[in-house]
């Protein structure tokens, strides 16, 4: 068992790596439709799965809330790996030697790779009835939820806080540096939407995104922009007070404020984002992998995940107990949802590659 995880591809071809558990067809997950958060006792005895995510508190939380209880109930042995790396997914799928069974990946990427890197989920195994509307996809389900949110310096703008993304990029009205995501190898909802809103586009007329217009707008304020490309860095920018406003992930915003950063969120027009769980094409035991995903989506598991990580739960029945500050950063409450900017994930998934190319070219200019 687990020899696939330990041995390199070279060794695998030599030893054949026999005995990775019952074949997919042998798994009996019990009668009746699946219920999120449940798995038949002992159904996966002798099966080994590998769960891959981004590490840190996030993956620790996922393991404590869902992966470990799943292993003890189902009898499966679940290994952990990470961080998720798209090239590794591609390498495994291309080489037809897939060692990752459940992968936590960016939602847009999972959408984009549906049918290529990831296989369709069997809705008889994965119960999606408790997911917020519009969040499930053919090949993936959300793993949690958070937001891209506007944070502003309370000391500077406390009396007259910025109201929306137009104010965020208005450097005359609100002087100072702005931190925005600057991933050269990635582009996601956020900066481009903010630029277009600031350039006068109505929030409900954003899509299809006019990327060139957005970049032109960003160029005009480029000297005031500071780019961050790790969550830790964005948090550090808030805590050190180097910027007067920032577009950051809500989880990092919460951590920064908890550490004493003098910032407050403006939730109006925040962009909801999430990670997703998916099963790579060629996974050795797709049924078992999907059973793990189904278990992960349970209300109890999602409640615990939120309490451990401060990410928002994606099961509508989950009722996490949080301190006052953490409650303020939940993104899935009805009142927050009403403030959210409607992001067209389908447009993003379809056009992300071209956007990344344009975005990274613009960044490097």
């Amino acid at each position: 068992m687990g020899c696939a995880a330990a041995a390199g591809a070279l060794l695998l071809t030599i030893t054949g790596c026999a005995g990775t558990g019952p074949a997919a067809a042998d798994v009996d997950l019990g009668p009746g439709p699946a219920v999120a958060g449940q798995v038949k006792k002992g159904a996966l005895d002798g099966v080994t799965l590998t769960f891959t995510s981004y590490g840190g508190i996030y993956q620790d939380g996922q393991e404590a809330a869902a992966v470990k209880p799943f292993a003890s109930e189902s009898g499966a042995k679940v290994l952990s790996d990470g961080p998720t790396d798209y090239t590794k997914v591609k390498a495994q799928v291309d080489a037809k030697n897939v060692t990752w069974d459940v992968v936590d990946a960016d939602t847009l990427w999972a959408k984009r790779q549906c049918g290529k890197m990831f296989m369709p989920l069997d809705k008889d195994i994965v119960d999606t009835s408790k997911l917020p509307k519009g969040t499930e996809d053919k090949c993936s389900v959300p793993a949690m939820s958070y937001g891209v949110v506007l944070m502003y310096d309370k000391k500077k703008f406390g009396d007259n806080p910025p109201k929306d993304w137009a104010d965020f990029l208005d450097t005359k009205k609100y002087p100072g540096k702005r931190a925005i995501p600057g991933f050269a190898s990635d582009a996601a909802p956020g900066a481009l939407e903010a630029a277009l809103i600031s350039d006068g586009v109505a929030p409900d007329k954003l899509y299809p995104l006019d990327v060139d217009r957005a970049l032109k707008k960003l160029t005009s304020v480029r000297s005031s922009l500071v780019f961050w490309d790790t969550g830790a860095r964005s948090q550090q920018l808030l805590e050190s007070g180097e910027v007067s406003m920032a577009m950051v992930w809500s989880g990092r915003a919460y951590s920064a404020v908890k550490n004493g950063a003098h910032f407050a969120p403006q939730w109006n027009q925040f962009l909801p984002v999430s990670d997703s769980l998916a099963v790579p094409v060629g996974a050795r035991n797709p049924k078992a992998a999907m059973a793990l995903i189904n278990y992960y989506l349970g209300a109890a598991q999602q409640t615990k995940l939120t309490e451990l990580t401060s990410y928002s739960p994606i099961n509508t029945d989950a009722k996490p107990k949080l301190d006052t500050l953490a409650t303020q950063y939940l993104t899935t409450t009805p009142e927050r949802q009403a403030q959210a900017l409607q992001v067209d994930n389908d447009w993003w998934a379809k056009n992300q590659e071209q956007v990344i190319q344009k975005w990274s070219d613009w960044l490097a200019r």
Binding site: G182, F183, S185, D186, S360, A364, R365
Partner: protein, 292 residues
Amino acid sequence: MTALIEIASPATGGRPRKGAGGRWGWLLLPSLVLLAVLFLVPLGLMVWRSVSEPTPGAANYSWFFTSDVALATLVRTLTVGAVVTLVTLVLSYPYAYLMTVVGARARIWLTLLVLLPFWTSLMVRTFAWVVLLQDSGVVNQILGTVGLGPLQLIRTPTGVVIGMSQVLMPFMVLPLYAVMSGIDRRLLDAAQGMGARPAIAFLRVFVPLSLPGVGAGALTVFITSLGFYVTPALLGSPDQALISQQIFTQVNGLLAWGRGGAMGVVLLAVTLVLLGLVGVVLRLTRGRGGAR
């Protein structure tokens, strides 16, 4: 010890005796096999991907040479490498010289001072620079007290050069020291005996003799700097990306392994061409200097 110094410094003269490797040559076999499997095969795959993905042909290369951004990144990478080389040379030359003139105990301390950071994880050192160089960091606080206002150091090419120079300094100091410690001091005395002032003796006798160390150090630092990823990623800004970061974008963000491969091949080719040029220059200067 002699052997070590000989390897490190062409200046002390002798190349290994011919035929010395003959009897023991087979000892090289394991490392050659390792090199073939772990280096040549992946390199071959990279070249192959660069001409076969997504479609066979030279499309990835024509993309590279017609993309303003890709070319600008290549130039930026070479420029940063050259500046880092210059900075480490300027800092390391007097340092290595000092190492040759102090006593044995002080030399141990000086060596430790270079090597200690070298033994520390690259990530740790880079994060330390992030803390030091940020707008509200120690460096800017000190600059503030002397009235030099906060300078933006992090997320600029300056920050990248500072971080990379510190990381690469041992690669400059050690070859310099190896060559300098082999220079016969009596030559300086002789020059002064012939009437040269100390500064002139140093410039006309010591510096030329130390040039092989400068060459070895500069080459190592420059070529190593071309492949740097972590330091520019953390200390630089995404809008000042070096070629390694652009390769990451292509390979990881876009899964365009062909383009990433082509960028790698171009970088390798540029490095080899530069190496060749330096080799030619070195041979010319050595020829002019005559046999020692």
